[in-house]
């Protein structure tokens, strides 16, 4: 018979059961078709790698500076960190706008509705620091309220993040708290909500300044895998 065409060779890899027996017989006896089929099979075997992690910040500028022998201005694509509200800080509208712009530029976060920052209530006896950022938490598949989160000044370079979640549901597993960067590419785990739906976590201020502002609560199966399960119950963006 004639040589197998490229689509037929691909089908031998993708769904061999759907390919006629005469074709199977031909490729086993024809060195040319056999080699082409082996190559496609090896391409199929090369799948499965984890997603690539982004390169460290600053590497791009260093490469361009060394290769082109010049100082390089930061690219617009680099995430501009939004400083936290201090007593005389960036106006809130500007911080929110910048964070939203960062989000639009980010990938994979889908439709995002920035939560309106809630007015900070009188904090409980502790923590005693000033509220530097807050957010309402909402579900992801609807805008149903899921509690709130506040960030307080704890020390010079530390912010205390206080999570008060509600209606997280009864899915099996435990609830883990994360900060997702507004670049949509990076995230860090803060820890587990061990005492019901409330928890406080200390975070280096630098992280929040770098754009880790989206607080996410996930339900994690007890499988020993330290990565995010992909099942988010609540989110809110600190502003």
């Amino acid at each position: 018979m004639a040589h197998a065409d490229p689509d037929t060779l691909a089908d031998l890899v993708l769904e061999p059961g759907a390919v006629r027996e005469s074709v199977h017989a031909h490729v086993t006896s024809c060195p040319e078709c056999g080699a082409a089929l082996d190559a496609l099979r090896s391409a199929r075997r090369a799948t499965g790698a984890e997603p690539l992690v982004p390169v460290p910040d600053g590497l791009r500028a260093r490469v361009l500076a060394e290769a082109l022998g010049q100082g390089v201005a930061p690219q617009a694509a680099d995430v501009a960190p939004v400083p936290l509200r201090r007593r005389h800080a960036v106006p809130l509208w500007l911080a929110t706008a910048a964070a939203v712009i960062g989000l639009v530029a980010g990938l994979g976060l889908g439709r995002w509705t920035a939560a309106d920052p809630v007015a900070a209530p009188e904090p409980d006896p502790e923590p005693t620091g000033a509220v530097v950022a807050s957010a309402a938490l909402t579900a992801l598949d609807s805008d149903a309220p899921r509690g709130d989160v506040e960030a307080f000044d704890a020390a010079d370079d530390v912010v205390q993040v206080s999570v008060r979640a509600r209606e997280l549901g009864g899915e099996p597993g435990f609830h883990e708290v994360w900060l997702i960067n507004v670049d949509g590419k990076r995230m860090v785990a803060l820890g587990i909500l061990a005492r019901g739906d409330d928890g406080t976590f200390e975070v280096p201020r630098r992280l929040i300044d770098e754009g880790y502002r989206i607080l996410d609560i996930s339900v994690e199966p007890d499988d020993g895998d330290p990565t995010h399960s992909g099942v988010s119950l609540a989110r809110g963006e600190l502003a």
């Binding site: 490229p6 689509d7 691909a10 089908d11 890899v13 993708l14 769904e15 190559a39 496609l40 090896s42 391409a43 199929r44 090369a46 799948t47 499965g48 790698a49 984890e50 997603p51 690539l52 992690v53 982004p54 390169v55 460290p56 590497l59 791009r60 260093r62 490469v63 361009l64 060394e66 290769a67 082109l68 690219q75 694509a77 994979g108 976060l109 889908g110 439709r111 995002w112 992801l140 598949d141 997702i180 949509g184 590419k185 990076r186 995230m187 996410d216 996930s218 990565t227 995010h228 992909g230 099942v231 988010s232």
Partner: protein
């Protein structure tokens, strides 16, 4: 370290027929050839574009091959600087960059390992490494897997999703059609063409990395 795909609010839905699947590939390949030509001719903006597209491929390869983020960062920088300095040797083609950059990266990784072996402070790191022959085989397999992942991640939708569902999650074709809202025949044609794309790039990597 692994990175999770950040959970999105809802998955994408696709409908309708594939419009010009072949045209999409051709347009992509033409833009890659044009980028390689600009790079060869010393267009400084092309260096930034090449870095943006392939730096994570090279950096991930170096991290996995060397096991040290700091050394990997140095190697990544060396690879792109070396590529720029030898840009006159570029032969523009649709898969020029992954093959060429991985080839440079394999040499730089080997240099970094040799430097480690000479570096008494890293005796323990050397004690833990395997023999050079094992390195070569492992490096080739690692590079191929990362090249494939990077290529699929940068494919246009819906092909990217179709390939991820089929090759990373081993979903049956009928499930993929249901998930994406694409006709079964369209799913199959994306898989056939996508597999051929992976094969073409891997061929370049195998020939270019020797």
């Amino acid at each position: 370290m692994t990175v999770v795909r950040l959970p999105a609010r809802s998955g994408p839905r696709y409908g309708g027929a594939v419009v010009g699947a072949a045209a999409l590939e051709e347009a992509h390949e033409e833009s890659m050839v044009a980028l390689a030509s600009r790079f060869r001719d010393g267009d400084e903006a092309a260096l930034g574009e090449v870095f943006d597209r392939w730096s994570s491929l090279i950096h991930n390869f170096a991290v996995r091959a060397l096991g040290d983020p700091h050394d990997a960062e140095d190697v990544t920088q060396q690879v792109f600087v070396a590529a720029w300095r030898s840009r006159a040797t570029v032969t523009p083609g649709p898969s020029t960059f992954p093959a060429w950059l991985v080839g440079i990266a394999r040499h730089k990784v080997a240099d970094a390992r040799a430097a480690r072996a000479r570096d008494a402070r890293k005796v323990r790191a050397v004690a833990a490494v395997t023999t050079p022959d094992e390195h070569v085989a492992a490096d080739v397999a690692l590079a191929e897997r990362l090249v494939v992942r990077q290529l699929v991640d940068q494919m246009d939708e819906p092909r990217r999703t179709v390939l991820l569902l089929a090759f990373w999650q081993d979903k049956p074709h009928s499930d993929i059609a249901a998930t994406t809202g694409l006709p079964l025949g369209t799913v199959k044609s994306h898989l056939r063409r996508g597999l051929a794309q992976l094969h073409r790039v891997l061929e370049e990597v195998r020939h270019g990395s020797r």
